[in-house]
Symmetry: C3
Subunit: 207 residues, 3 copies
């Protein structure tokens, strides 16, 4: 397997595990039953990657072709359900850090994979964003609320920055691992700094 | 045409007719006009199969390639609209049985088709679930409510059992028709028994 | 490039610009921040075409393969955000005419492209409808409301008429440009006449 393929796989699987836990927590807080918890865990963990793969023409998507993705998502969802007493006690700032880690992993994996499929640089960075935020958008749609990513602070923007850095790093001739790790750290740090400082994007002043 | 291909087609078309009626009833109860009724009938009838086909790499989806699918969905939607006085008088337990039949037909067709496309057993069973519940999820999203499948009793689980039985039956060397009919009956019976007895999946005890 | 390919490209790009502006206006009225405005502009402008391309098997979709689509959508979204004071002052009847123009452009481009991909006439007309209304449906889902297209007057029907006329014109041997322009004008005029006269489709009389 090529280094970059391994890199995408590792980042994708790590992001899958993190987002499955997060999805399961959101579903339990929403009062869903075991099946609902599993479905939301699955969706949040795999939704972004599936949309990315359909868009870049990688059909069937890895999450369908490779049993490790759904198995991992279901296992983490089940573990979260069983140990909910422990997991729901996790403080919010740890959950936010976990979420930022998942976002960074997926943004890097998504942009990297799009580059492999010959997608141009601007859209490759966008594909990183889609991978990072896609699962959360589907989760919010299923729970019938406006997607958090649309109303909240620096989130999709951090994913876009991560994706753009991967693409720029590859173009600048950096080794793939260096570009990926650097971009991931930048995305993670930007997201956490934005939360800590309450950074917001501008809003149109209506009237 | 191969036996299994004919089987998928027959189960898919029967499920399409059933779900188109159901979608039209839901849309009329929601106060939508003729077009809204047709769109929801179409979506509920074909949404699950389209998502399945995109995921397993069968593009363009049968519902797009084969005019019989949309023609059937629209015809049933129109018939339901015209004869709404009669159809809305149908008692709820008949509608629930019809819905369980559609679920069983789609779960079997979906898992069977995924197996044909070389998808592994676990994900093939999942694809049966997606085919069975997909249309209803899209319907609930369009009507801006939390998908019933996430909050209600044994529904997606019954579809998963049906899909898993098709896959297991094929692996055990049963003739395709026997595996399909047996799995369909099991899914249908499980769904109806769950409704009748008010079975629920466990829910996490929070606090 | 073939005449019909150029025609699809021109109609698609013009529709993209119009719908990006409209999406940005809807997002600003919904109180979203800059990123939310960009995402909604992007989605409304490109959502319909992406869904069409996935359904007809044109993967990756033009909006992903060709950087001009996203660049145009983002630019129009940004321009709308920056000049919101001027743009939000535009009277509603101009916005409705713009929207009808976008609908007509996308209905024609969608049906034309489906015909190029060898899709049968009925479904090609449907693909025109999907292209025209798809972006708006996704926008309403993201803003957690029932899609306007399902509850309002002649909208998807006008797109379907436009798509059907393109297909019929091609079958009747008209030159592509004539069929496209005629169908586009018919769709645009039908939509505006329906709004002006308050035309509605029938609704089932329940009880």
């Amino acid at each position: 397997m090529k280094t970059t393929t391994k890199l995408v796989l590792a980042a994708d699987l790590a992001g899958t595990a993190v987002f499955a836990i997060e999805g399961a927590v959101a579903a339990m807080r929403g009062g869903l039953d075991l099946l609902g918890v599993m479905v939301i865990a699955f969706t949040v963990a795999l939704g972004g990657g599936v949309v990315r793969d359909l868009l870049i023409g990688a059909a069937p998507p890895s999450a369908i072709r490779d049993w490790r993705y759904p198995a991992l998502a279901f296992t983490m969802g089940l573990v979260t359900f069983v140990f909910h007493a422990q997991i729901l006690g996790i403080p919010d700032h740890i959950l936010i850090a976990l979420d930022a880690a998942g976002l960074a992993l997926f943004a890097v994996a998504g942009a990297q994979k799009a580059v492999e499929y010959g997608i141009g640089p601007f859209i490759a960075a966008l594909m990183g964003t889609v991978t990072g935020v896609g699962g959360g958008v589907v989760r919010d749609l299923l729970l019938a609320r406006v997607p958090m990513v649309l109303v909240s602070d620096i989130y999709a923007s951090a994913a876009f920055v991560g994706g753009a850095l991967v693409v720029a790093g590859r173009r600048a001739g950096l080794p793939p691992v260096v570009a990926a790790v650097g971009a991931g750290i930048a995305c993670f740090a930007l997201r956490l700094t934005a939360v800590r400082n309450g950074w917001h994007l501008p809003r149109a002043q209506l009237g």
